[in-house]
Amino acid sequence: MTATDYRSRADRARRAIAEQTSGPSYFDLFWTGVAGFFTLLALIPLVLVLVYVVIRGFSRLNWAAFTQLPPPPLAPDQGGFANALIGTLIMVGIGALVSVPFGVLAAIYLSEFSQGQVPRWIRFATNVLSGVPSILMGVFIYGLFVITTGTYSAVAGGFALGVLMLPIIVRTTDESLQIVPKQVRWAAIGMGASKFQTVLRVVLPAALPAIATGLTLAVARAAGETAPLLFTALFSQYWLDSLFQPTASLSVLVYNFATVPYEGQQRLAWAAALILVGIVLLTSILARWATRKQIY
């Protein structure tokens, strides 16, 4: 390339720059405006949903809502969702009981004991599992559990929620363990600790705050899930007196009562929706706040 070539190129570049920098760039202003507008558009639904849920739900939140059974169709503003609240707590509890040990131990293998391609494939499968539609978790547990036991039950609902939580727990635990520096493990091994001791006494406690945050988020998500419960736990108008009978949950109550033409039940559905949003929002904000301070 000759010197004149370079010179003409430089000239062209200079001219291009001059064109772009002369005067305010309407092109840039326009696109900044578009991006800002889209951001606003993305946030409007959040505000609208929150405002409506609070307005419609809050007025119905009284003592009865937390202590009584769901009202019959034509009773205005009576009754509550006490049995659904209990049902949700129990099923989320069963789900956590199943999936937390399972998920945490599996994540320990991925982050601490595995080598080569195996962990990559398992992580891949975990991510794909978290993308499986939650209603299919319900279909799966229906085939596995409801058909064999012959009844819709809190246990089946809990298992469905457990399957739903499992990939989230594995991923967050795996990520939390990986944040713990290698040196911590070397120090423990160097002191003569066995693998078992290193993981359980040193690495796991160090990662515990992050893991706990992840678990809380997973549990909160599960509490708001409806689809896996529709045909595993079903619903019930009555108090729960056995883990092997149809069980009410807050989320299914919202679904059932929002889709009927009775105003009393609709108002209760809004109140239950407010509780669900409250649970998820509070845990998310707390989790965000807790992870701001990181140990390592």
């Binding site: 639904p45 398992i122 066995s194 529709l230």
Partner: protein, 318 residues
Amino acid sequence: MASSTSSPKGKPIEARSQRSQWSDRSFTWLTRILAFGVAAVLVFIGVQVAIDAMPAIRRYGLEFLVTSSWNPVDDAYGALPMIYGTLVSSLIALVLAVPIGVGTALFLSEDFLPRPVRTVLSFMVEMLAAIPSVVYGIWGIFVLIPFLDPIGGWLHQNLGWIPLFGTTYRGPGMLPAALVLTVMILPIITAIARDSLISLPPALRQAALGMGATRWTAIFRVLIPAAFSGIVGGTMLALGRAMGETMAVTMLIGNSNDLNVSILAPANTVASLLANQFAEAGDLQIAALMYAGLVLFGLTLVVNILAEMIVQRVNVYK
């Protein structure tokens, strides 16, 4: 071994006890089995649903996918309208959510606003994903559907000659369902697009600006192309979510088993079909529903595997 090593004081270090070695090995094995167990759950779901779908697969074969009748009385089942509804509702949601999501991601990854404000806004967008699906459903029934009434009416009156708006707006239908789906998948697209934009090497932007590009020229010509695979990966993940989304859709889509091109008419998706009919279905109907569930499983599996492959490539780049 133990006798050959000695501590500074000269006392021999004892070999690890049998018990300690045994606990180490069994603990490692336990975690290994459970880790493979997680992957096995994925396979197990597919197999279990396939087994339960067997009676319907044998009876209807592949015709199930292209027939449009859902009649428990005559045992005639075909899932075409639901598969069509699943794909169309997801596609409409994607078409709306991708520009909005990428625009939001750009707005929140560039320095248009002070950092604390951006952090709060990003968190708020993430919150969209945290709101339970059923809450979107109840909101859609009582707020969105009435709100869309004049808009739907206008669309039919003025654009009714287009088949897409060929029926009158009667409330529950494809339009409100697709709009709520848009809101629900927005945070996924925004989060992943933002991550891949932020993780680009700063040198790229500096080089573009150094060449005299303005901010948006740099964004369109350099940053978006460089982050493109991340954006595509996020879009695929969002597509998978949209296809499997159940509660909000089933509450808003009208659950009509007839195929209708108009987005103002009621429709159905595979997920909402399952949600509606499963609890009250008879034997063969259960099998047919399981078959539909298997189709949904296959669809989301393919989409998610592709998405994961793309997103993993992006992470390597990071």
